[in-house]
């Protein structure tokens, strides 16, 4: 099982070479993998259709209880078969459709990667790995939608799809973690077996978060806008993503979790409402669109809404209707998308208004298109009819909003008939329209997919038991949570659903007659779209970037001072607050054990620090720093740190020399800041100083654990064979640290050397020259600045 999922990714890595090897036939060559996988999954059918469950587990992060485990039951097997089966046709089709495209190899990589992610998603038993695969489908679909990345539009649309689904993905992750915590296990099989979670206190947040994830992925209103925009992808991608895979991932997850999360009021209300609204919105927008792929995309939105609504109803009948509708939709929508691609590829048309009368030049395509459209319209004896009858029956027996849902479904069905009629009639019949390319029936590689899918739609329609016994009953049982006993049949007798179907058929055909009029009548939508979710999305994105740039400009303003103030302010507030909150803060203030010479040195040090700050001469400041350094060295020696004292003396000497030698060449101090700034800085500096003083007093009085120094004191003789414990630590116990220190010094030396010798342009030679040149240039600069200012004021006045 692991091999089955990983093989897609592995082949994806080698796809470009296979492509080079296979040349024109590379699509056929690569499609061997999905074909083999399809056969493998089909071989599991007998066991699963008996209600069996297969589980495979491989340890992944055993410490975190994450394992790579796979669960195969009716539902996941149905999806796996669709993914590999349609994937096979798409690879064959895509190889020919994009033949000669310079980045066909890249296309194969992403498509195979997507296939693997999708398989992993539907087969995962572990919530974490399911989420990982979920995000992988997002990323690979982003690559696929933005395949024509030279076009700005494609990039924008891909970005849109990515942002919307990633947003949902984040919510989903949180929801899945809540689910795992609530159920006490991250294994789906365990969660599903442990019964319903609707009484759990975390139920509502977890449901809402998971639904946000599935709704964005499955393009439910108001997130439906990204799906038609994803049509920027090449047609094979659209066919694959929108028939069986990507957009159905959300539906899959809702169906998968239905036994655990379904059955509550919230589930029923939210899913039914959003599903019904999406269904009507989707098909309404489809009836208004004229782009071939756009019409199909919107009708996919409708199908997703229908599925969500059925899952919301959650009855036995609804579960069966959902999986039946899902299979029927995958078959005809895959076929229709590929036909849309054929129209583009063979005749060069992308819009229903630019096409007509192709039946004589493309007879085989016409036949396939009509067959698939009949299934879409739900006409007997195609499989779509079976799905539609079940859908109506499920809606009629709904527990809430029975009439409303029935009317919505009826309205949707009327417009579905309209869309089906457009697809089945407009391009093929009527007046022959001149097309950009000379229309012809395409190569077998392009036609085999839609043809076989359409024929399957007919076969399952004629013998529904084939699909039902094979997989659908098992899948519906997985959705419902209990074994489903209902069977599928083509003919249910003359009943209310049949009447509704017939009336919607008639009304739909009437609408088709007045299609142009209908589009004209509903042109108010053009105004409405200006306030639609897509515009809101774009506003949000714009707002986010402008907020980010404002924030960057404010925080990253280029003044070291401001960074320091921000950092120190934060430290003062946080540490100060923490100190204030300590219950018994003991500050050990005592001036008892001070010796007079120590006091003198400390007083000297404080004095020299203050002088170094206030003095206006650079040399005086350096002299004060020298005094300060040597004073500190004395303190070290007084308090038993002889080595430190020696080092300090050495370093201090070199520091003073360095400062005098290098910085002496720089100009004298100037007063640059205003008095207000000085006061502000003094306050911040004073607060920091006070905080550090309090901190030292608090820390020295609150030592809670034994230090590790005792170890060094005890062992430096026996283990390090040295008498100076500090030295033994430096060169023995912590020798690697010292080595690192040496490297730092070496790096500094290289850097200093490089900077001194890296001369750009001719610069003055002697020190006095340099200073003179410096002061001269500064004067010039100030002069020109003043001139500019007077000029500006002159201009403004």
């Amino acid at each position: 099982m692991l091999i089955a999922v990983l093989s897609c990714f592995i082949l994806a890595c080698f796809a470009p070479w296979v492509h080079r090897l296979g040349g024109r036939q590379s699509g056929w060559l690569l499609s061997l993998l999905p074909a083999a996988l399809f056969v493998y999954f089909a071989s599991l059918l007998p066991e699963v259709s008996q209600g069996g469950q297969l589980q495979f587990a491989y340890p992944w992060f055993p410490g975190l209880q994450i394992q790579l485990s796979f669960l195969i039951d009716g539902l996941s097997l149905l999806f796996a078969l669709l993914i590999t089966g349609i994937g096979f046709f798409i690879l064959v089709y895509g190889g020919r459709y994009l033949e000669g495209h310079q980045s066909l190899g890249r296309f194969y990589i992403f498509l195979l990667g997507f296939m693997g992610s999708m398989l992993g998603l539907v087969l995962s038993d572990n919530l974490i790995s399911l989420f990982v695969f979920w995000e992988l489908t997002t990323i690979t679909s982003f690559m696929l939608i933005g395949f024509n990345h030279e076009q700005e539009d494609a990039r924008k649309k891909a970005h849109q799809g990515l942002m919307v689904t990633v947003l949902g993905g984040l919510a989903l992750m949180t929801g899945l973690i809540l689910l795992g915590l609530a159920a006490g296990s991250f294994e789906l099989s365990t969660i599903l077996a442990s019964g319903t979670l609707t009484e759990h206190s975390l139920y509502l947040p977890m449901l809402l978060l998971i639904l946000l994830g599935t709704f964005t992925k499955s393009a439910q209103t108001p997130f439906h806008f990204w799906l038609p925009n994803a049509m920027a992808a090449p047609t094979p991608v659209s066919a694959y993503l929108h028939s069986a895979t990507m957009v159905k991932a959300g539906v899959y997850l809702m169906a998968r979790l239905h036994p655990s999360l379904g059955g509550s009021e919230a589930w029923l209300l939210i899913l039914t409402l959003f599903g019904a609204v999406t269904m009507v919105t989707g098909i309404f927008l489809a009836s208004r669109a004229t782009g071939i792929k756009r019409v199909l995309a919107y009708s996919t939105v409708m199908a997703l809404g229908t599925l969500t609504m059925l899952l919301g109803l959650g009855t036995e009948k609804a579960a069966l209707a959902a999986v039946t509708f899902l299979l029927a939709h995958a078959l005809y929508k895959g076929a229709l998308f590929m036909i849309a691609g054929i129209l583009d590829h063979s005749a060069g048309v992308k819009d229903f208004r630019d096409v007509g009368g192709l039946r004589s030049s493309m007879p085989a395509t016409t036949a396939v298109a009509i067959l698939a459209s009949l299934s879409l319209a739900g006409i007997i004896p195609l499989f779509g009819f079976v799905g539609k009858e079940l859908l109506l029956e499920a809606v009629l027996s709904a527990s809430i909003w029975q009439i409303g849902l029935t009317v919505a479904t009826l309205v949707a069905n009327i417009m579905v008939v309209l869309v089906a009629a457009i697809m089945a009639l407009t391009p093929w019949f009527g007046k022959t329209v001149e097309t950009p390319k000379k229309p012809h029936d395409p190569n077998v590689a392009l036609l085999i997919g839609p043809a076989l899918l359409a024929v399957l739609g007919l076969l399952f329609g004629l013998v529904p038991a084939l699909a039902a016994d094979g997989i659908l009953t098992a899948a519906a049982s997985a959705v419902y949570g209990q074994p489903v006993t209902l069977g599928l049949s083509l003919w249910h007798g003359i009943n209310l659903p049949l009447m509704l179907t017939i009336s919607s058929l008639i009304l739909g055909l009437i609408m088709f007659r007045f299609w142009a009029g209908w589009r004209h009548m509903t042109r108010f939508m053009q105004t409405a779209e200006k306030f639609g979710p897509e515009v809101i999305y774009e506003r949000l994105m714009l707002g986010m970037t402008s907020f980010a740039s404002w924030q960057t400009k404010t925080l990253q303003n280029g003044y070291l001072r401001n960074y320091l103030i921000t950092t120190l302010g934060t430290v003062i507030i946080i540490v100060g607050w923490a100190l204030l909150r300590v219950q018994h803060l003991e500050l050990h203030i005592s001036f008892d054990d001070i010796k007079i010479h120590e006091f003198a040195i400390v007083a000297l040090l404080i004095l020299s620090a203050i002088i170094a700050v206030v003095v206006r001469s650079f040399l005086a400041a350096v002299a004060m720093l020298g005094a300060l350094g040597f004073g500190v060295a004395l303190l070290y020696v007084f308090f038993s740190a002889v080595d430190v004292g020696i080092t300090q003396v050495l370093v201090e000497t070199i520091t003073v020399l360095l400062l005098v030698l290098v910085l002496y060449r720089l100009p004298e101090f100037r007063s640059l800041s205003s008095t207000a700034n000085r006061i502000r800085d003094a306050i911040i500096a004073g607060a920091t100083g006070l905080l550090m003083t309090v901190l030292v007093l608090a820390i020295t009085g609150a030592r809670q654990l034994e230090g590790i120094s005792e170890y060094f004191l005890q062992n430096s003789g026996p283990l390090g064979h040295g008498r100076n414990v500090v030295n033994v630590i430096l060169v023995d116990f912590r020798a690697l640290d010292t080595l690192g220190e040496l490297f730092v010094l070496a790096l500094v030396a290289i850097g200093v050397y490089a900077m001194i010798h890296l001369r750009t342009g001719a610069l003055p030679v002697t020190n006095s020259d340099r200073r003179a040149a410096f002061n001269f240039r500064r004067a010039q600069k100030e002069k020109s600045k003043a001139e500019q200012q007077t000029k500006e004021t002159g201009e403004s006045s």
């Binding site: 003044y559 001072r561 320091l564 005592s590 006091f599 400390v602 040090l605 404080i606 620090a609 170094a612 400041a621 350096v622 720093l625 350094g629 500190v632 308090f639 038993s640 740190a641 002889v642 430190v644 080092t647 300090q648 370093v651 520091t655 400062l659 290098v662 910085l663 060449r665 720089l666 101090f669 640059l672 800085d681 003094a682 500096a685 004073g686 920091t688 100083g689 006070l690 550090m692 030292v696 007093l697 820390i699 020295t700 230090g707 590790i708 120094s709 060094f712 004191l713 005890q714 414990v725 500090v726 630590i729 430096l730 220190e741 500094v748 850097g751 900077m755 750009t760 340099r770 500064r778």
Partner: protein, 114 residues
């Protein structure tokens, strides 16, 4: 004595921060020196002050008998002094170069990248 040291450390920090907040880049260097001294003294004081008991093992013995100053803090400060000097040397030369190239010591005018 710790109290006195705490006041000293606070003064050093305050002086260092004040100097680092100035616009002159030379004052920034002075601030850096003060800051590293302050940090070293902080570590030193927090580890505990001991008079006249350096962590040295007397001749003929294997371990120190009785009290001894914390050797680890001293080792850390030693490292810190040397690294601090390295950073300072680099900063000083860098500032010197920067002043030469952009012809100013005012950090407000060093903002742009051109």
């Amino acid at each position: 004595m710790t109290t006195l040291m705490a006041i000293l450390i606070g003064t050093f920090y305050a002086a260092a921060i004040y100097m680092m907040l100035r616009r002159s880049v030379v004052k920034l260097v002075i601030g850096l020196i003060l800051l590293s001294n302050a940090a070293n003294l902080l570590i030193f004081t927090v580890a505990g002050l001991e008079r006249g008991t350096p962590p040295l093992i007397p001749k003929g013995q294997d371990v120190i008998v009785g009290a001894a100053a914390d050797p680890l803090a001293q080792a850390v400060i030693l490292t810190s002094i040397v690294i601090g000097f390295g950073v300072l040397a680099f900063a000083v030369v860098l500032i010197h170069r920067a002043c030469e190239v952009v012809q100013t010591d005012d950090m407000n005018e060093m903002k742009g990248t051109d």
